[in-house]
């Protein structure tokens, strides 16, 4: 590696901290090797070190710190590729042109691969060579995970979710919390039906922090008379295996939902307001399972926009004043969902005020990709959210909406930090409040 990032102490779970140097290096090699293929090789080989990806990354934009240059974050992955699988790998090894990677060296990359990347893909849009840098970073995370170098918070949540289906212990199981939300908001929670056309999932963030969004989901589905159900054994939409970089764990966590969808013969699995959950299920689950999914995966905004187009959903005009909308990166930039949220907004008489950088090119909330969960990343992500607040303020909006509970939580946290005037809201909740005849 030609340069080293700032010397952060690795932030490890006790289980990870136990690993010795040889096990760590062997794990990294195993993890990176699994990710090396024709596509990643082409991408790793093609970089010309133009540095323009830095100008797309919000972590660089707000800090002007060159260590946050996106393509630099994949250096460990590139080093292993060049040394072990590149066209001239033997030359690199024999002449010592690429050193063997060490655990200590990898540990220094933890901050760059996890604390300062939302996997948002803005850098990939910028790259003049057309390299999907965000995907390379995701693959590099997988090597880090195998090396026992995923951040403690993500590793522990992924481990818990893999074991129990929910990413952290709770005073009562999420199933019971879900039913309690139903009682509190006076909605009937469809739960554990043996057969249903639509399998509903729920963000852990909504269960814990935004129960009104859960109620809104149920209310909207009931309004549409959808044959749907939650399943106790596959509730949580988020995938902490994905955040942590645990390929096998990600697959197992996805499998839990897939099995439930298959068991109830669902034709559609709905990912609620959560961007990364959408990416994990919509674009990665089939690849990890090694087969196509026997059902559609739809984000709730897509599902509702389809209902709108079919005339099944009609909405009343919302009197909410000038409104700005934040496109979650995983939905718009990596997921292709651009029109659906705007269709819903317009159906409520809202013409969204776009931020200066908008739709596919907008900057992130700063909390996605697991960054919100990483305690030590808070200062850095606050700088990103502050930048986003400036952009939203410039629109003159009185109402601010998004359709990802992790974005919303990041904005809420930023609101407290900066005493921001607006309150981040949920598009789904607004829809539920404006159902015609509802």
């Amino acid at each position: 590696m030609n340069t080293s990032p700032v010397d952060f102490q690795a932030n490890l779970a006790p289980e990870e901290a136990k690993l010795g140097e040889s096990a760590r290096v062997a794990g990294a090699m195993r993890g990176f090797a699994r990710e090396i293929g024709a596509l990643s090789a082409l991408r790793l080989d093609a970089c010309v070190h133009c540095g323009m990806c830095a100008d797309a990354c919000h972590f660089y934009i707000v800090t002007e710190d060159p260590q946050y240059t996106p393509v630099l974050k994949v250096e460990p992955f590139k080093q292993v590729f060049k040394r072990e699988a590149g066209a001239f790998a033997p030359v690199f090894r024999w002449f010592g042109l690429k050193a063997k990677i060490t655990g200590a060296e990898l540990a220094r990359w933890q901050h760059l691969l996890y604390d300062s990347c939302n996997l948002c893909g803005r850098c990939s849009l910028m790259c003049p060579m057309g390299i999907d840098i965000a995907e390379l970073i995701e693959q590099a995370r997988r090597g880090m995970f195998e090396a026992g170098l995923a951040p403690k918070e993500l590793y522990e949540k992924a481990a818990h979710q893999r074991r129990t289906g929910q990413p952290e212990p709770s005073d009562e199981p999420y199933r019971d919390k879900l039913l309690a939300i139903g009682r509190r908001f006076n909605v009937e929670i469809p739960l554990d039906k043996p057969r249903a056309e639509v399998l509903l999932t729920v963000p852990r963030t909504d269960i814990e922090h935004y129960p009104a969004a859960v109620a809104a989901l149920v209310r909207v589905m009931a309004h549409l008379k959808a044959d749907c159900t939650f399943r106790s054994d596959g509730l949580v939409a988020e995938n902490y295996g994905y955040y942590a970089g645990g390929r096998d764990w990600q697959r197992e966590i996805s499998r839990r939902l897939i099995d439930q969808a298959v068991a109830c013969q669902a034709k559609v699995l709905i990912v609620p307001e959560c961007g990364h959950a959408y990416s994990a299920l919509r674009w990665e689950a089939a690849e990890l399972m090694g087969k196509s999914l026997p059902f559609k995966v739809l984000h709730i905004t897509e599902y509702l926009a389809e209902a709108l187009e079919a005339g099944r959903l009609r909405l009343r005009t919302a009197q909410v004043g000038a409104t700005a909308f934040h496109d979650p990166c995983q939905l718009v930039r990596k997921g292709g969902i651009t029109a659906a949220p705007r269709q819903l907004l317009r159906a409520m008489g809202i013409e969204p005020r776009e931020t200066v950088r908008h739709i596919g090119y907008n900057i992130c909330c700063g909390g996605g990709g697991g960054v919100f969960d990483i305690e030590r990343a808070a200062t850095l992500r606050h700088r990103v959210v502050e930048e986003k607040f400036h952009e939203i303020d410039q629109t003159g909006a009185q109402t601010f909406l998004t359709t990802c509970s992790d974005c919303r939580r990041t904005f809420d946290d930023g609101k407290k930090r900066f005493n921001w005037e607006l309150t981040p809201g949920s598009l789904l909740e607004l829809v539920a409040e404006h159902l015609q005849g509802g």
Binding site: A38, L42, C50, D55, E64, P66, G130, W283, V297, V332
Partner: protein
């Protein structure tokens, strides 16, 4: 055998063989690696995604307005010296004779004086590129041996070419020999470093355009 004979004789042959074999091996090595199966249900059809991939090979050449304010210097420098290189390499009469002898073709040349002006401009741009790489915090942080050596190999070719045209520095025959040798060096280094981007740029853009359009995402 004098320097020129050596440079355009056995040295050029050896360099050319390394150039061809190296490029072929580097591409074959990528193709031989595991190919990921894409199994998720596409949002856009395969023909639409393929077409977008094809379009992306060109459309990526011009940055989106969103980014241009921050990247304009790099873009302008990059475009300018690439254009300069193409003019000097492909539109200089002696080069046309040299390359034409291999492919059995000729094409119109620019007057020598015009090409000389372009060569001077291109060398100046190359100096600016190096200064920027050394002075820009991101580029300095990112740069490695490949970045500097690739720069050196191309710059050497430009400088020796200009010296040969201007008849300065050493007897013409010696400078010409050095110029051709520097071309040999370029051919030898080409497959090993970032100069390979000329072969990667279009496939990478096409793949990205295909993959992202398949998802309905911007590319």
């Amino acid at each position: 055998m004098d320097l020129v004979d050596f440079a355009r004789g056995p040295a050029l042959k050896a360099a050319f063989i390394i150039f061809i074999l190296g490029i072929v091996w580097r591409i074959v090595n990528v193709l031989l690696l595991r190919h990921k199966r894409i199994l998720s249900e596409p949002r856009r059809s395969v023909p639409v995604a393929l077409l977008a991939g094809l379009k992306g090979t060109g459309s990526r050449s011009w940055p989106h307005p969103e980014f241009i304010k921050r990247t304009v210097t790099g873009e302008a420098l990059g475009y300018s010296y690439h254009i300069g290189l193409f003019i000097v390499i492909l539109l200089f009469a002696p080069h046309i004779i040299f390359f034409g002898s291999f492919i059995g073709a000729r094409w119109p040349a620019l007057p020598n004086s015009v090409v000389t002006i372009f060569a001077v401009i291109t060398i100046t741009l190359f100096v600016a590129v190096l200064a920027r790489r050394l002075g820009h915090p991101v580029l300095r942080h990112l740069s490695n041996f490949d970045d500097f050596f690739s720069w050196f190999v191309v710059a050497l070719l430009l400088v020796t070419g200009l010296m040969a045209t201007a008849h300065v520095g050493a007897p013409y025959h010696t400078i010409l020999g050095l110029h051709i040798l520097s071309f040999d060096l370029l051919l030898i280094w080409y497959p090993f470093g970032k100069l390979m981007h000329a072969f990667y740029i279009f496939p990478t853009r096409a793949v990205d355009g295909y993959v992202m359009t398949r998802k309905g995402a911007p590319s």
